[in-house]
Structure formats: C-alpha cells, structure tokens
Amino acid sequence: MKNKECVAMLLAGGQGTRLKSLTKKIAKPAVYFGGKYRIIDFPLSNCTNSGIDTVGVLTQYEPLILNNYIGIGSSWDLDRSFGGVSVLPPYMQADGGGWYSGTANAIYRNMEFLDQYNPEHVLILSGDHIYKMDYNHMLEYHIAAEADATISVLEVPWSEASRFGIMNTNDEGRITEFDEKPEFPLSNLASMGVYIFKWDVLKRYLMEDEEKEDSSHDFGKDIIPALLNDNKKLNAYTFDGYWKDVGTVDSLWEANMDLLKEEPGLNLSDNKWRIYSKNPNQPAQYIASSATVRNALINEGCRIYGTVDTSVIFYGVQVAQGSVIKDSVIMPNVKIGKNVKIHRAIISEGSVIEDNSVVGDSSPDSQITLVAEEGSVMASSYATIIK
C-alpha cells in the first residue's frame, strides 16, 4: 500500500470574532487579502510549493463559502488521485460523534482520515496567517533532528514577546519550556502555530488527551505541555520571512498596507513561489482619463474614474468620478459613488457606497473603519451606505 511521508492538517474552523462582521457569514480563513486572495490561499499554496500534496482542511464554522472555494483543490494544483485536498467537517458516527471541541480534538476525530495515508509525519497548520514558507525545509530539519515534534518559531521584538506563546530553547534548539503569553519572557521566539509531529507520537498523545476530562483539547494548552512533560524531543525551527497574524481588523488592514511599501516583505509576483487562488472571470481593469491611481494594487473587473491612493482594490470594484480612496482596502464588487471620501477603511464585499459619502478618519492614529456587509460602520462614521 502506498503511503505519504507528510500529510498536512489545516485548522480552518475558527470564527475569528475579532474580525467582527467580516466573518459573520464566512470562516476566518476565507477572509479576503491582498486584492485577490483569501487567507487560506497562503497555507495551501505553501503546501503545493513545498511538495506536500495531501491536505485535510478542518471546517466547522460557516463552511459553505470555504467548501465552494476549495472544491477539490484544483486552484492550488491539489486535485490529486491519491491525496489532494479533503474538506473535513464535523460529523456523526454510529457511537455519537460531534463538533470539534478544540484544535487537538479536531485532529483526533480525523485519525481515520490520516491513517488512510499512513504518514510518517503530520504538519499542523492554521488558516489565520499570511506568510510564504517552505514546509519541506522544516520537515527536513525535523527529520534530521529525529524530533518527536518541531515547532516553527519567529523572533519577535522583545517588547512584544509577552503577547505570544514563547518557546524557551537550549543551545541545540531543543525546546525546554513553553510559556503562553509570559509576563517576563525568557526568549523572544514566538510560536507561529505551525507544528510537525511524528504521527505515531501525536496519535498516542491525542488519544490520551481525549481521555482527560479537564483538557481543553488544544495543541498549545494541552498537547505541547504534555509532550514536554514527558521529556519528548521538541525542537524549535526558526523562520525568518514575513509573517503576519491577521486576526483583527487593524492587523488585516496593516498586512494589506504592507504590500504597498517600497520594499514589501511579501512578494506576490514571485513565479517560483506562486500564491495560487481561485481566479474570478472578469474583464481587464479600466483606468479612465479622469482617474488618478498612485501606489495601489488593483484587480481585474475594476473601473476607476476617481482617485486611488495607497490602497488595495479587489476585483469588480467601481470608483466613480470625484471620489478619493486613500489608505484603504476595498473588497470585491464594491460600488463607490461620486465624490465619496474613504480614508483608512476596509469596505467589505458587495457594499454600495452612496454619492458624497465620507467614510473613515484620515488622522494617522485613528482606528480603522470597517464597512461591513449590512451597511454597518464600526468605528468613526459619517457614511451613508446602501446595500
């Protein structure tokens, strides 16, 4: 029987409540980013580019859009005869079954899926981060070190270390301690939520954890501490590229703005590490004579008659004459009327902004305004919005 060296499990069940109404009807990994993508395009493209061709996507919250978006994975070249992408929703079994009660429980309930492929290693990913990473390098490191588990870490500024899960390591990179949001951090190596486990080791710990009544069945809170406690070999793998948690409206906005910097940390046009996504069918974008476009990412199907400055514009957006969009992210199929001013805002998919509206606050430290599906304006607002 064939087997797979490494199978990836992508945790995509989260609601992402801190993204507010952006995730009212869609799971967080389906949230838009970068003028064209959804967050989940990044881990899925990383898998494809790393040669990992078997990925389980664990869904639970509002999966309809995510299901349709993923399909059988052809957008990421993950439609494979043996392996490929499988969407794994919670399900009922003869003896019960039920919702996923934590990240570890979600994997536990899909042990049979994993056992089909009889993998040596399992890569655990989350659908919340924007980054390009070669998981194969990490896997090679994990195998060479003969580790039971390897956790990808990132050096964060010391001042911010207490906001993260911090790994304390010895000289060989072996993890000696895991501190969740320590008040006085001993290291600045923060966990990225990317783990590789030996499957036989993980499986045993998942089954044991399932028996513990007081467990929250979470990788960070339960599984990793249990492994450390048993003196298993846990290594830290240091990643040093661009990585961004886009869990809040502000950080999602920032990550979009990062793409417009002089030297962006994230290159979306690298042919050697393509970010794949499902491509909408739209005609070429049209920039009218009356338009002014400066420092912007604009996608197909847009028609720009006004001014776009330092903004990210998704497909199918219309900006009428006299309007000014600055420091903003405009999601797909938004219609912006005449003489509208939009500053420091995220306008969500399909919104219609009436003529002469003013959205957002241009002062540099102001909160980011979110215009969400049903016309609500979250922070500062003078807008009139009609859906």
């Binding site: 970068g34 003028g35 064209k36 979306l268 046009s269 393509r274 970010i275 794949y276 996504s277 491509n279 069918n281 005609p283 070429a284 974008q285 049209y286 920039i287 009218a288 004579s289 338009a291 476009v293 400066r294 420092n295 912007a296 990412l297 604009i298 996608n299 197909e300 776009v308 990210v312 514009i313 998704f314």
Partner: protein, 368 residues
Amino acid sequence: MDLIAGIINLDHEQDLLEELTYFRCGAAVPFAGRYRMIDFTISNMTNSRIESVAVFARRKYRSLMDHMEQGKSWDLDRQRGGLFILPPDWNDPTDLSRGDLQHFHNNIDFIRRTLADYIVVSGSQNICSIDYRDVLESHKESGADVTVVYKKVEELQPEHNLAHKLTIDDSGQVMAIHNDQQSKNVYMDMYIIERDYLNYLVENCIAHGCSHLFLDGIKGRLPDIHINAYEHEGSHALINSVESYYRNSRKLLNESEHDELFNEESPVFTKVKNEAPSHYAFSSNINNTLVANGCTLEGHVEDSILFRGVKVGKGAVIKNSIIMQRCEIEENAVLENVILDKDCSISSGRTLIGAPEKPFVVAKRKTM
C-alpha cells in the same frame, strides 16, 4: 428546449494579421487585455447553452490547443459533449473531400452523433455578444433551410471589403450573397442549420467535388433554397487585418462599446492565469487604459491596452498602443501607435512611433 451544437470553422480564415499571425492562427490572437479572439465565439456558444463544440483548425493551432485545453474554462469539460479541437490528422486513402469539406467529412461523427437537432457554424473573426437561441427562434419561425447572421454596419470600413454581403427582401429572406462594396449588410460568418440538412449538404458537396461548404453548398444553391437573415443589433467588430484589430481594440476604451461586449448576462470566459493584482507605483500615471493583472506600472500610459504581466518603467511613455503579455518597457522608452506581441522588451530610452492608421507591429519575443 431545442439542443444546439456548435462548429467553429477556422479553415478559410486567413492569417492576415501580419506579425501577430506568424506563429498562431487568427483565432488565437490575444484581444482585449486578457482574451483570445476565439473566446468570444466559444463564450457566445456557452451562453446559448451549447454544450458540444468542435473547432476545425488547419494550421498554427498549437497555441489554440494550449489555450483551450479540454474546455474547462468555458464549462465545456464534459463527459457528454464538450469542446473538441480537431486538427487535420487524416489518413483515409479513400477520402475524396477537399477544402473545408475535409473537416466536415472527417469529423462527420460529430454531426451524426450529437444529440442536438441544430448546429451553429461560425468563424472566429466576428467579435460580438450574441445569443444563438434567438437566432434559432428566428430560423424556426422563418421555416428556412439556413439562417445566416448579419450586421447592418453604420459605416463601411476597409475590413468589410473582404466580407460577404447580403441582399435581403422585406420578409428577411436572403435574395443574394455577394461582395458588393457598397452594401452595408455584412454577413457575420455564422449560420444555423438543421443537423440532418447539414449532414446532407456535406455528403452532397463531396459527391459533387466542392471544396467550400458555405460557398458551394449554401450560397451556390441560392435560388433553390430558402435562406433567412437574422440581424445582429449589438456591437460588432470584424477583425481580419492589423488595421481592423487595432481600431477595434481601441474601440473598447469607449465605455458603452466595452459594456455591450462585456455584460454580466453573457460573460466572456477565458483560460484564467494566476497573476497578482496589478501594481501602480507612486510615479505611475495611467489614463483611459485597459490593464490586465500582473502588471507593474511606473510610467505614463494613455489610450492603450496592457495585457497580463506588462512592466512599464519610470519615465516611459506609452500612447495609443497595445502591449501584450509580459512585455517589458524600460525607463524612458517612448511608444506611440505600436502593437507589441508577447514577451517583447523595449530598451531604456528607445522610441518607436507608428502611424495612427498603420500601427508599428513588433513580433513576439523581440528585444529592441
């Protein structure tokens, strides 16, 4: 609902687009920033619920094959029906057919086995948005043997010289098909016909040694058969020369022309590519221009069409030009009335200026 099948017959389309058709047939020429000419014909068929389309290709069809694949982009990747590109690979020593009848003869199974009762036969040079179900309705009402589609053009252009024209009576019946240079009823190289009648025409034409199904089998029978004319009222472009390609491409910078061709009800499908959104730098100055994805724009562009992945350096100036995929225009280059085919590079500081009525065309992969 009546089923219709489609045949896109490229056999008698000549490759008159100079450098643009050195290595590809006209149907494969890039158009409107991200399409190929044939996308419009296939999309019209898909939007008319045609589920089975054969493409008769004779020469330079490689890039067409790469583009069409199994038809997935047009939702035509089917077990029943689907999109078939049929290059000339014939090995029957008893085959007597000639001209485009070789295609009809050697692919007669497509006609005989289709579940459709009607077949639309079309070329690829008439760009428009048309619903063949409306043509079929007119055909059935008229009781005609064949229904041909035409456009009553407002103003005759040089490209119309090569097209056939129709003389039509009050009832919409075609009285004559000719090349009268004054006639404004331009035949759009599309007709609808009953499957069984098409099968009969093919057999009959071969038996009589004909070499052109439309000219010999339909036009040539004119007094004896009933040909109905269907007028296409929407926008229309006939592209059979560099000049008509250039003029009709730039017509799309006009909003209403653009919207008639690209409307939500009948979208134009094409093979999608993974490209990042286009990046407009602080220094860019883009006006009245269509831009596809993946471009990096730092210079000045006006009244132009940029295909996917074009790079325009700082200080470069592009006017009235069509720049195809992955061209690189270095700093301070100047292009006016130019068509660059794919993968061209224009070195920093170069100036190329064509004439408005005769653009300067650069073949693909040229570095200048």
